[in-house]
């Protein structure tokens, strides 16, 4: 099996780290994994995204055109990846930054108000973790525990104090996504 995930958003939204957390989790789970960033033509600011590939054996291309899973933290990313997502794939969208609903009906779109949730937790920078938590509902290969474990073991000492809030963010995102899948969507 092989799963590809793209996480996209503005420069400051923690896109790259969000991806790395999943990558660490996959590695610790004994899987093959690649993480690759890509910066838009603009050298600074602009949009950033990263692609994570998780597989059982040697990974070929670290880049994919039509991923089965994606996180869009802002509107441009939503526009782009809603188009490119694989049929039947799942797209987690940061509701806080988009003002429209889905266009495609052959993919599952999960809207999560990442900014709001993060601010409720008390650290707006955690919006990426909220989104990652939400994504996990559609990534059976990795459990919430796997990701928390990864954070625990790879977060630099000086940031360890932030762990609890990170866990909370993951949880809240996960629940928000579950709730929505369960029909109680935020729309």
């Amino acid at each position: 099996m092989q799963k590809e995930i793209i996480i996209a958003g503005f420069g400051g939204q923690g896109v790259l780290f969000g991806g790395q957390v999943l990558t660490y989790a996959a590695m610790d789970a004994g899987k093959e994994v690649t993480w690759i960033p890509s910066y838009g033509p603009e050298m600074r600011g602009g949009t950033a995204n990263c692609t994570i590939v998780i597989a059982e054996d040697e990974i070929g291309s670290p880049l994919v055109k039509n991923p089965p899973l994606a996180i869009a933290l802002n509107l441009p990313s939503f526009d782009k990846y809603e188009g490119e997502l694989q049929q039947g794939g799942t797209l987690v969208v940061n509701k806080s930054m988009v003002d429209r609903g889905p266009k495609r009906d052959d993919i599952k779109v999960i809207f999560v108000p990442c900014n709001e949730i993060a601010e409720e937790i008390g650290d707006r920078r955690l919006l990426n973790m909220v989104a990652v938590g939400a994504l996990l509902t559609s990534l059976p290969e990795l459990s919430l525990q796997d990701v928390e474990q990864a954070l625990e073991s790879h977060m630099p000492e000086r940031h360890k104090n932030l762990l609890p809030k990170n866990f909370e963010a993951l949880q809240r995102g996960y629940e928000a996504a579950k709730a929505q899948s369960a029909g109680i969507t935020g729309q």
Binding site: E42, M43, R44, G45
Partner: protein
């Protein structure tokens, strides 16, 4: 000019194209661009100008001036400018270069352009680091200053001492006008503009090589706010890179604007 009510005091210079710059917020590269655009406009020479962009954050300078522009290999802008000026002596040719571009990889070209007394104008942005590539040490990085390639602060024993470019170029007979200015406050910005004007006047009159070094900020890689960055220039840089005129040839000294 007759004074009227509702008077326009200042507006974006026409020499500055309407493209927003790609520079980080508060980066004084923009200020330097604006001053050059104002000067070229005021001198009425936009039409005759060919600019030479460097490799560095200002690699896209060509997008912002309403003049012809070329983009040089890293450090070679003065050589390209020489090639252009020699075949188009009646045009106005200037390079716009960062400190890595001009004082590191481009040292040979800048020294020899000055030695030849090439009739070109150089706008030299000294921001004490390599901005575009992510804030590595530059020849202008201050002793002890932390950069991504001097993580423990520049150790002069192993990484050497900052180069004072104006002082160095002032030793060359071909230099007509070589001065250092700063962009950290309104007063100095005004002085910087005057200097840029005089540099281009030097070229227009064929009085040899002219260069204005401008102490500039890099908030992004300095990890300071734009306002703090200006303070850093004022407090730290000016003392190591004294502002002043390092070479004003007799003929240039005559120039009245």
């Amino acid at each position: 000019m007759v004074a009227t009510a509702n008077n326009l005091v200042y507006e974006r210079p026409v020499g500055f194209t309407d493209a927003p710059t790609h520079y980080c917020p508060g980066c004084t590269h923009g200020t330097a661009h604006r001053l050059v655009a104002e000067v070229l406009e005021e001198m009425g020479i936009l039409d005759k100008v060919i600019g030479v962009a460097p490799v560095g954050c200002s690699v896209f300078a060509y997008n912002y001036f309403d003049t012809d522009f070329v983009e040089a290999p890293h450090g070679r802008a003065p050589a390209m400018a020489t090639g252009i000026k020699r075949v188009l002596p009646d045009r106005i040719v200037f390079t716009y270069q960062g400190d890595g571009d001009l004082a590191s990889i481009g040292m040979g070209e800048i020294v020899h352009s000055a030695a030849r007394g090439e009739n070109i104008t150089v706008i030299f942005i000294n921001n004490a680091n390599y901005g575009m590539t992510g804030g590595q040490m530059a020849p202008t990085t201050l002793p002890g200053m932390k950069t991504t390639s001097s993580p423990n602060g520049r150790d002069v024993e192993t990484q050497g001492y900052p180069i004072r470019t104006c002082e160095l170029l002032a030793t060359l007979d071909g230099s007509g006008y070589v001065v250092r200015r700063s962009l950290h406050d309104p007063k100095n910005i005004r002085l910087a503009k005057k200097a840029i004007r005089l540099a281009f006047e030097t070229q227009v009159r064929g009085l040899g090589f002219s260069m204005v070094e401008l102490l500039s900020t890099c908030p992004t890689n300095w990890n300071l706010t734009p306002v703090e960055s200006l303070k850093f220039v004022e407090d730290k840089m000016v003392s190591y890179f004294p502002l002043g005129d390092y070479k004003v040839s007799q003929s240039v000294a005559q120039v009245k604007i």
